[in-house]
Symmetry: C2
Subunit: 354 residues, 2 copies
């Protein structure tokens, strides 16, 4: 069927999010959620949300949330932007910062939303091939461009890219915006974030999310930190798209969770410990596991096909993520769940790999 | 200060939302919120939200909410799109449907976000002047264009545009998308919505919001209803911008509120009754009041300046909306609050207009 108005449509190939099975009793290790729920403190706040406050528009400036984030990261409030998950923050960033005829640069194997945003906003792009160990080659980014975006740690590989290399890229690209997508940085080593570089580089934007380390994927909060001029331009675009993006629940719970830092540190430690143990268990069973600085591992088996393991696991209600994409189509991305969930995965693998 | 990267920025003049004073004890009649909070039923659901469900990504398809809306409007689920307030829905609509070199058409006096979205996405537009009674002239829209958007009832005028005139516009514009923004339609007469026309016109999109009649501005829910092909194109764009826009609270409460229709009908009746009484009170005091089909009135006084009344009211903690815009810069837009709030407004006016 065709319509008389079809020539006026923006036709795009959308991003495909990981499956969200609506049934219970699944081991869901496909979207890098945090297996530990919000703290008891947060639960209390959830159950005391004021119904009457839903009647009014939320604060469009998200002042309470922005202030808590600014205090947490020890930056001025003018350097913080908040949005509906880091996807919203990144979409706004692409729209705000990538408006050049020159291509923006990102890796061939990275967050698969980058080319989707580029296509949506008609931003030209060039993919830079990771090396054979799935590492970024710095020199690929030392070339004229319309902008740079690097996920660090990278997804789905889990690999951390050294900060000294990012500095080289920032130094070269002073006339482009460089976005470092730090969705998973809380699972890397302390001090590996680039947030402390925003004073030195006015072209640097860091993006973050509450969906992984902060156990609040269902609340949809992401944020960006950068020079106040960058944040101002982003806010102008945000206010030109939707003034009130953060609902009352997100503002209230989001502000509280930042103050709840001990719980969060504890959860991260547990996940890192499980990750190390699980990585070893996989290696003991013939898997090659890339070094992970995230809450997932990216692994391939020397003999068994990733797609077949993926399908067999799904039949047992265990969900991994599999990307049918050149160079990584024999890898599985497995979120780190609770210890008992990973034990169940190991039992499944032991029965599959005889 | 200037930056080396500034040539790559999308520089826009953002929309300015109505003020959201964070203090209590104000009479807030500036953003057309509903003075009656959510029902007791909804309050119960709010206080029983499951904290653990915030850990997981929400359903990206918003199935529960979409199903309830489809059932309520008696349309197929494939004809419903949901977003973070109708601003989000409209932003996605502009991006999806207005991609022509020909100008889109909208009124000179209407929702002031339309030109902002057009500028953001570089959509050419032509404003069509309302007549001297602030009514739409149908013939202005019977001309070659890149799309049409009409707020009905219109804001800030509050005036309803007859459905038979919209049909003429739809008939003429079969090769453009025509958006009817029905944010305020629940305060107009029964049967005045254009939703029943979607079977006849595959180029018609209706947008709606939970922020006015449904008392949930703080939850951020809007939706669109139209031909399944339109909705599919919008969803492709939405999934190319942000897969998970609706958080767990919005999905859970949004679905429940649709079922809570008796409460909602009752609230609307009360607001309409207050509107009629208040309009009369204003007229008794020398105001000209445009006929309102919304939850606000648009009024100008024969002797006193709107801007001065606006400022004087604000000093008394009464917030109206004033637009410093040609043709309407002697009008006040006053949201219909509770009866006691409108009585307070009348007392203020009586003291001001001596």
């Amino acid at each position: 069927m065709s319509f008389l108005w079809e020539d006026k449509i923006r036709v795009v190939e959308p991003y495909t999010p990981g499956e969200q099975p609506q049934k219970n009793n699944v081991i869901k290790l496909n979207t890098n959620e945090n297996p530990y729920g919000p703290s008891d403190e947060i639960k209390k706040i959830i159950n005391n949300l004021s119904a009457d406050d839903f009647r009014k528009y939320p604060d469009p400036t998200s002042e309470s949330l922005v202030s808590e984030l600014a205090a947490f990261h020890n930056v001025d409030k003018s350097r913080v932007f908040v949005g509906v998950g880091s996807d919203d923050v990144l979409a706004v960033s692409f729209l705000t910062f990538f408006n050049s005829d020159k291509p923006i640069l990102f890796a061939d194997i990275t967050y698969s939303f980058y080319p989707v945003w580029a296509d949506l906003f008609k931003v030209p792009y060039k993919v830079c091939k990771l090396d054979d160990d799935f590492r970024i080659k710095t020199e690929d980014y030392l070339t004229d461009n319309g902008g740079v975006i690097i996920a660090n740690p990278n997804a789905p590989t889990g690999i951390y890219f050294d900060k000294s290399e990012i500095i080289k890229i920032l130094e070269y690209n002073k006339s482009s915006i460089v976005i470092i997508d730090e969705a998973y940085i809380d699972f890397a080593e302390d001090g590996s974030s680039c947030i402390d570089l925003i004073d030195r580089y006015d072209n640097l934007l860091i993006t973050r999310t509450f969906s992984k380390s902060r156990s609040l994927a269902g609340l949809r909060i992401g944020y960006a930190i950068g020079n106040e001029a960058l944040i101002k331009y982003m806010n102008d675009v945000k206010y030109s798209f939707n003034s009130y993006t953060m609902n009352y629940a997100a503002l209230t719970l989001g502000s509280a969770v930042i103050k709840d830092n001990d719980y969060f540190e504890n959860v991260i430690s547990k996940i890192k410990a499980t990750r190390e143990r699980f990585s070893q268990e996989l290696q003991d069973r013939g898997f090659k596991v890339l070094p992970s600085s995230t809450n997932f591992v990216f692994a391939c088996h020397e003999k068994y096909s990733a797609e077949e393991i993926f399908n067999a696991a799904k039949k047992k209600q265990i969900y991994f993520r599999f990307f049918k994409q050149s160079r990584i189509d024999n890898f599985l991305r497995i979120t780190i769940g609770k210890d008992e969930e990973m034990d169940e995965v190991i039992r499944f693998l032991d029965s599959y790999i005889k």
